[in-house]
Amino acid sequence: MDQIKTLWKSAESYYDSSSTNQVTEFADSVTNEFNPDTMSGVSRRKFLALVSAGTAFAATACTNYRDKKEIVEYVNKPDSANTGLPNYYASTCTECPLACGIVIKTREGRPIKIDGNELHPINLGKTCVRGQGTILNLYDPIRLKKPSRGSKMLTEDWKTIDEELIALFKKATSDKKEIAILHNTIFSPSQKAAFNVFIAAYPTAKLYCYENFCDDSKREAFALSYSDKQSCCSSASSIPFKLNQAKVILSLESDFLGNEGHFVRNIKQFSETRDVNKLDKFSRLYVAEAGMSLTGMNSDYRLRLTPEKQLDFLLTIISAIAAKHVSKFELPLDFASKLNNYNIKKFADENGIKAQTIDYLVDDLIKNTGSSCVISGNKLPKEVHIAANLINEMIEAQNLCDCEYCQTNYCDCASDKDLTDMLGRAKAGQVAAIINFDSNPVYQLPQEFGYSEASSKTTVITLSEFNNETSSVSHFVLPINHNLESWGDANTNCSVFSLQQPVIAPLYDTRQKEAVLLIWASGKADYNDKVYLNLIKDYWQKEVFPKSGSAADFDTFWYSCLHDGVVEIKSTKCDTLKFNFDALKALDKKYEKKDFTLLINDNPFFGTGKFVGNGWLQELPHPVTKLTWDNCAMIAPATAKELGVEMGDFIEVSSGNNKLKIPAFHQPGMAEKTIAIDLGYGRKNVGEIGSEVGFDVSPFISSNGISKYIYSGVTVVKGSGHYKLATTQEHHSLDEKFVKDLHLKRGIVREGTVEEYKTTPNFLKEKFEEGNPVSIHSQVSYTGMKWAMALDMNKCVGCALCVQSCNVENNIPVVGKDQVANGREMHWMRVDRYYSGTTEEPIVSQQPINCSHCDNAPCENVCPVVATSHSPDGLNQMVYNRCVGTRYCANNCPTKVRRYNFFDFREHFAQGYYTQDSLSLLHNPEVTVRSRSVMEKCTFCIQRIMEGKQEALKAGKDFKGSDVKTACQVACPAEAISFGDVNDPESDVAKIRKHDLSYSLLDELYIKSNVHYIARLRNTNSEKNSER
């Protein structure tokens, strides 16, 4: 390096060579001084590894993934619980007196899904929305967890309370004071036996059964019409019709497809007669009603008729049938002579109904004698039921009677007088205790009965799952097991016995309600949860086993029943019933329509209010109004106009001393000057979800009406104020010209008549002839499996069961009223409802819609981050983790089926209700719980597809499309949904696509939808739709 200085700038640099010239910027090469040993021992490779590991650690430390939870494996694994594999248990749903057979799916020991039990002969593999939703009740954090004392709910242990109460009952027995047990309908023979045991132990005990909404008048009329009952029907209260064999059905104010009778079975049977491939069996449904019901929406002919005129209507029909002298059934002369006053023309003119429609009806009833029937609604007074029974005799509807499955009756309902007498005695201090056995009399009984006053004069013991109006006036509140934690049995239809078994140990310190009674009856406070099971077994051994004719021993029989959940005991065929003409005397009654008529409806989802705390059901759109989180007064738009009442404006309804301020809802198809209000709302003390939701119409129930549920002479005036109603569908006025009938003009809903289809099978394709769109892109061909769905609009009645089943299966969050009002409900499936025609006589079309999984999905190409893409088997998939939430896909979705998590709805809804511990058990572990700002939509139940694929692989079979059933498909009682591999020519979906009546939505966009519809056929006479 020693160079001769050749250049220097200053003296300094000349002399101080070391600091300037000697320092060269870069070393020329590696010199001898370079010694690798002096370097750090860390190799470059190692260094890079450390850096990357360090970065990764730092990154990990920064991550705080909020949904992170630990998974802990079993310490002692129960034999039957295999992680990741579901178990299925057959049981019985005891949430309502229909007692459907159910199959409960459990994962890791916790129930996550309920579907109908296919072996059950009554509900035929289907169950209702309540049955589907009861899982939420099981995990509801507001369930009562410990027994308590007094209105302050001081926690107490069971033993102390048991001892105290046993002493109380013993004293009551010795004092000869009554012990009143209030209960709802009994449909379980073992439960009845348990009551008997209790009554035997304490002879002063008395059982009162009552229902807030029941078919009392129908039963009474049945008893009057057929007073000399025989054989198995001796205990029958009424006999259901075999609707699958009916050709003509006349429904009178009866929502038999919505909530009356065994509506799940009814839907199933009715839809069997709506098969486009069996046109000769196609039924015709006439509905005469004042309120708009689901049944009315599905009718072929709908007559608007106020309930006061129902009796006249039936007598007109009776007179018309009698006048034709075709019936073998002879009417008594004095009655026949009275009928002369009735004729169709006069009746039609008076009530603004087309006489032709009634003519058609009478013709149809006569022509189809033996395969037609009249169904009268539970709301109607007994006289109408008697008249309906008479017509049924005349048209030989007994052919359709399902005698094998006539309804049982374990306990006659207590009359109003029984109850008021008992409460009177209680007020006088003569009743030692009132036991509310899973009943809620403060809410359910009319206020005038004075239950609340009586409760201060006696000891009130309430057995309940939840707090309710009664628990707040009770001295003891005892928590009971949920349906899914309980043993039980049921016998609702004479030859069907079903068993209920617990599928999860009680989550809290709760007890089986019957066992509580039995312990009290034993006189010793030693609880044993087997005590009721033993009683059931006992009953089955003594009563059911001998009748079953089973060759095996009882244990085998018992376990097979437990496995199947149900056993059917074939009884001897019952004799025909003989009509009792004395009953006709009641038909002299006349009803006058005065002022407004009030109809009190049974809510299709909540029943009489037990389920108001269930968010799923609150948010399920009402099948008619599409209203959520409220009830309303349905009122005809014309009447509302007269009153000057807009949608959501308050009206004041008053009858006698009762007044109710409730928002009005313009409902097309309502009879004029009639309002209909759903029962079961306006509950108090039922937790955050259900309290103060809607308006309570139950105080109106009294004995002054035409029946318990129909009141004439009600005053309705415009009230002050406006109320926000949250519907899932915007309400368009039918008068607004340019939006009118858009669903028909756009071919979204395509309909025709049976006539049209018979004469020109491909009329639909002719009517909606479309050019063949072509694409400038090359189209992906799906050669392997390709998933597709088909929906039969003839079968679908719009019951919303598919929506509910989807909610449960796919962990759909409840969003609350404010969010629904803003159009943010998260349901992946929805049932659209459209009106055409006039507001007075609307024609209703319904259409369930889920993601179409279009081949050319418009959502896919607009996502900037490829968060939604197509699978090789034709599914439009959503990658939640990749979604950044631009909402562009939803904007570009022509059917608007995409749902956006505007909030973390689990946190947002009801102050984090969903984030409470017990509710995390609710979710289906196979389906991701979506976080905030993520788009979601129907996946065609991809978890079920994957499960089917796995099963097929495991079994070494070919995987077929029919191996997979989606949640909505399984739940649909009408069997309107088919799902499968459209590339398999044998599959239902492939066949339906080729059907003349099949169409898919918005073909003109060339989206190539994979959900096809079979157009609905209306079974009208030859006149056109518009002329109905």
Binding site: F738, L742, H743, V865, V884, T886, T895, N901, F903, V934
Partner: protein
């Protein structure tokens, strides 16, 4: 009356000397802000704070704080985005296109318009970033190699937006800065405070007003102008693709690209005109930003306003001509449906009011042109609202229709966007020369050799 067509009137009134120009233009940056300025800043920064608060709350709880609902997935968020991007168009148009066309009158307003472009694009840029529900994942919108081998979707117009807007912002910012360099040098030379001197020195990049510097500068400015010119057209074209590429009736329209560009220039000019009216008054720039200049801007607004009006009419014609019932419905619904009020606000503000500019008197009357300018901006905001919200709220299936109502947060964020924009404008006024000193010097009387004579 004889008019000398060859005689070009001077764009700068009077005969200021170079020194006077320097003095005059740099004055606002050299005196302490007065009370009025502070009040103005307090108002705009309060609005900004309101917007920021609403944005933070939205970020914390989710998009649900806004009024967006199921059919109406985009509303104020994207309306604001398109509106602000539109505002940004005037700047580049003035600085690039008018520069290439040798329109000398642009010199007085170019700097300011360019600044507004930058601020408007900054304001606009917030919306696409924040409208996604999970803004912490915005990085995924950029194509970068990653271990998950996840790539962006090049068929999505939203992705094109990302490129278009970021390119536009970058080029506009460079263009603006380039133009500022000689002025930075002038400011540096004038600065007496050390702190200011250092800052201006850094930004002036060692500019010494040398001949070579000027040569390079002019060439670079020309190249950048050429580069920015297509961007003026491309950015709003691509923004319009967000709608035109979708299948929604009312969005799926081929007229959108030219219509959006015309609309953007329209609103951009209105905004520049509005702000400049204040600036020239407050800082006594009347002779630099002359009434003639304002009149020319009004003429451009009249022209672009009619283009927009033509597009409105043409949309209706095409909807009818297409024979598609969905298209027809959407346009009838716009005019007479649930959002008819918004539609008629749009039509009256954008088509009817600008017609007053046919009158020379109105074109030259400051209060009237200001009012019309405000109307144009309101109208153009509503144009985006009508396109986005009314089309979404009533689409294919009547069952899923719903009405959109903005919430407090929507309005707060809208106000906040104005707060951000005007705060930036106010800061700009006090720190940088709002008129290009160098360029103005080039267009005053006698600065250029001329053969026409007679004027000096």
């Amino acid at each position: 009356m004889s008019v000398d067509v060859l005689h070009e009137p001077s764009v700068i009134e009077g005969r200021p000397t170079f020194h006077e120009i320097n003095e005059h233009i740099t004055k606002p940056t050299e005196v302490r802000p007065d009370r009025k300025y502070m009040i103005a800043l307090a108002i705009t920064s309060s609005l900004l704070a309101l917007g920021a608060t609403c944005m933070i709350i939205t970020h914390w709880y989710g998009i649900g704080m806004w009024g967006n609902n199921n059919p109406v997935g985009w509303a104020f968020d994207i309306v604001n985005f398109v509106f602000w991007i539109g505002i940004g168009h005037a700047g580049t148009l003035i600085s690039a296109i008018l520069f290439l066309f040798r329109q000398k009158w642009r010199t007085g307003i170019a700097r300011f318009a360019e600044g507004m472009t930058i601020f408007a694009v900054m304001t606009a840029g917030i919306f696409p970033l924040m409208h996604v529900g999970r803004p912490w994942l915005d990085g995924w919108l950029f194509p970068y190699p990653n271990q998950n081998k996840l790539w962006v979707n090049f068929t999505s117009p939203l992705l094109w937006d990302v490129f278009a807007v970021s390119t536009y912002f970058t080029v506009s910012a460079i263009f603006w800065y380039m133009g500022l360099v000689p002025d930075f040098a002038s400011m540096r030379d004038r600065a007496t405070v050390k702190f200011k001197k250092v800052i201006y020195s850094i930004f002036s990049l060692g500019w010494r007003h040398s001949n070579r510097h000027w040569q390079h500068y002019e060439m670079m400015y020309l190249i950048l102008a050429g580069f920015a010119t297509p961007l003026v057209l491309s950015v709003h074209t691509i923004v319009s693709f967000d709608f035109a590429v979708s299948i929604l009736p009312g969005w799926h329209t081929t007229i959108f690209p030219p219509y959006f560009v015309a609309g953007a220039v329209f609103s951009g000019f209105a905004m520049v005109q509005n702000v400049l009216i204040f600036v020239r008054k407050i800082f006594n720039f009347e002779h630099i930003i002359t009434l003639d200049t304002l009149e020319k801007m009004n003429k451009i607004m009249l022209a672009t306003g009619m283009m927009v009006g033509y597009a409105y009419g043409m949309e209706f014609f095409i909807a009818w001509y297409s024979g598609s019932p969905m298209e027809m419905f959407v346009f009838v619904n716009r005019a007479f449906g649930n959002y008819a009020w918004a539609y008629w606000i749009m039509v009256s503000c954008n088509v009817i009011f600008p017609q007053f500019f046919w009158s020379r008197k109105i074109r030259r009357t400051i209060p009237l042109m200001f009012i019309i300018g405000v109307f144009v901006n309101v109208g153009m905001w509503f144009e985006r609202f009508v396109i986005i919200v009314s089309s979404l709220s009533r689409d294919f299936l009547p069952s899923s229709w719903a009405y959109y109502t903005p919430t407090f947060y929507d309005i707060g964020i809208l106000l906040g966007s104005f707060g951000l924009f005007f705060t930036l404008v106010l800061l700009f006024i006090k720190t940088l020369p709002v008129v290009s000193i160098a360029e103005v010097k080039a267009v005053i009387h006698g600065s250029q050799p001329t053969h026409k004579g007679g004027n000096h």
